[in-house]
Amino acid sequence: MENTKILIIDDDIDLTSALQTVLQSNQYSVSVANTREEGMEKLKADKPDLIILDVMMVKQQDGFEVARELKKNDEFKDIPILMLTAVEDKTGIDFKSEAGDSEWLPVDSFLDKPVEPQVLLDEVKKLLN
């Protein structure tokens, strides 16, 4: 797992520190970006195996825009994306409709914040397999 690289893109420094610790304690190699731009830079530099992405950073759609960008890019389109949200997609705002596409969800999995450490680890393991 030490060679498995995970990139967390989220503007919440406290949350990312906690998630980083949970993942590192399970021997994942973790890098953190607190802005969208930093995220894109680290993505190119680190070539992660998995991306954990926040839905809302500065703007409501930041996370989705990043995800869409990545899925269009041949270099990054196969990297699984786990999206974290504090506004449940299931029951709250329908991000998909707002983004103008009700069918296409450009991420591989959704988890609602806060995420229990074990739930996060299970999901990460599932996506990496």
Binding site: A18, V22, V87, K90, E116
Partner: protein, 420 residues
């Protein structure tokens, strides 16, 4: 038809050939105008922009109608024909469809045509075809009668245009007002949704960060704690989790209350019930509770919000698991009815006291025995369930016996038509 009846049954003298030719031309250009208008309507539906030539088409057709009506009159008695009042109907239609100025111009055209017809017949420039068999004596050369009648009719046409246009203008103003109000409401709805999602994000975001940081410490990922530290951190962790659940549930209820629309689509109900069952499996296993399901094969697709229905069933199942003693069974039955589906969630738990059963869907209400059995609980789960069911036009009812168990019965319409 009128020509045929008048000439065949009432033996009125008519220029049948000319009138039938006029009818054919009228029918042909009306079909063309109809097709053009249909094309323009489809164009509007497709692009939400009115077809640019629509006004010209209506003006042209209206003018042509007036000319044809004058020709009809000419071949059937001129100003003596009682159908002369049909000009009034055209003025009403013109005033509804066209602008005020255009309507007055149509009235002027009608008046001009009538005067021209009467004048040409009076002067003998064109022949006059009397309605023999209908009128006893020919009056087309009685200037006072003919022009007096046309004068009265012309003033009627202008008055009709004036009155109908006034009503049409007011009606258009109201329509515009409603349209603008609707746009404003949609914008307010969008702002409100954005506000709710922002508030939800911020509140839950802070709580999520607190809980995640505590998770790390409680799970000893950053080293061991002494007994007292562990005790206090665990308490803080527990309370944060409770607060997170409470805030999450409360925000969910607020979101549902504030949101007017729910995305309704056809979805497979059987699979949705199974997904809800899977999502609570872990909770059931923790209490060694067996969940059995009996879904009738004719339970197929229904129209609704799939996520909300899954949430609804999962919430009722979690409730059942929470208040059912270890090792017991929780059952889910689903069957197809006449335009509805029935879903029952049956537990063998603590039940609800008879005098409290009427309050269980109230916000923040928890039955007295539920509070004693399970300390944690928001008292909002069943309120949310009721909201979801009612949003789908369905019903939720409960049957319970103290210490024996509770059954929640959901009836959901299969299609949204069934709601209305």
């Amino acid at each position: 038809m009128a020509v045929f009846f008048a000439s065949t049954f009432f033996h009125v003298s008519l220029q049948q050939k000319s009138l039938y030719i006029l009818c054919s031309i009228l029918a042909a250009y009306n079909i063309a105008a109809f097709l053009l208008l249909r094309y323009s309507r489809n164009h509007h539906r497709r692009t939400n922009v009115y077809f640019p030539g629509i006004n010209k088409i209506i003006n042209f057709q209206m003018s042509l109608d007036l000319i044809f009506l004058s020709l009809f009159l000419h071949f059937s008695g001129g100003a003596e024909n009682p159908f002369i009042i049909y000009f009034i109907f055209h003025m009403i239609i013109a005033s509804i469809l066209l602008s005020v100025l255009e309507s007055y111009l149509q009235a002027t055209l009608a008046t001009g045509l009538l005067i021209l017809l009467a004048l040409l017949e009076y002067q003998g420039i064109i022949p006059h075809y009397p309605l023999t068999g209908f009128i006893q004596h020919d009056a087309h050369n009685e200037a006072f009668y003919v022009f007096g009648k046309i004068g009265v009719l012309a003033s009627t046409l202008y008055l009709v245009v004036f009155m109908t246009s006034s009503i049409a203008v007011q009606s258009r103003r109201h329509e515009e007002g409603y349209r603008l109000a609707n746009i404003k409401l949609k914008e307010q709805d969008r702002l409100k949704n954005e506000y709710v999602s922002r508030v939800t994000h911020d509140i839950k975001g802070h709580l999520a960060a607190i809980q995640s940081c505590l998770d790390v410490v409680v799970n000893k990922m950053v080293g061991p704690l002494n007994e007292e530290q562990d005790n206090f951190i665990s308490r803080a962790h527990r309370r944060t989790k409770k607060l997170s659940t409470f805030v999450k549930t409360l925000l969910r209820l607020t979101q549902m209350r504030l949101s007017h629309e729910m995305d309704m689509k056809d979805f497979p109900l059987k699979e949705t019930i199974e997904a809800a069952l899977n999502s609570v499996q872990r909770n059931a296993e923790q209490k060694s509770i067996k969940i059995t399901s009996q879904i009738s094969p004719d339970v197929t697709t229904i129209t609704g919000n799939q996520f909300s229905i899954e949430e609804l069933i999962a919430n009722l199942l979690l409730n059942a698991i929470k208040y059912t003693p270890k090792g017991n069974t929780v059952k889910v039955h689903a069957s197809d009815g006449d335009g509805i589906v029935r879903i029952e969630i049956i537990d063998t738990g603590i039940g609800i006291p008879a005098d409290e059963i009427g309050n269980i869907f109230d916000e923040f209400f928890r039955a007295s025995n539920a509070r004693e059995t399970v300390k944690d609980g928001t008292g909002l789960g069943l309120s949310i369930a009721k909201q979801i069911v009612e949003r789908h036009g369905g019903k939720i009812s409960v049957h319970s016996e103290l210490n024996k168990g509770t059954t929640f019965l959901l009836t959901l319409p299969k299609t949204q038509k069934a709601i209305t």
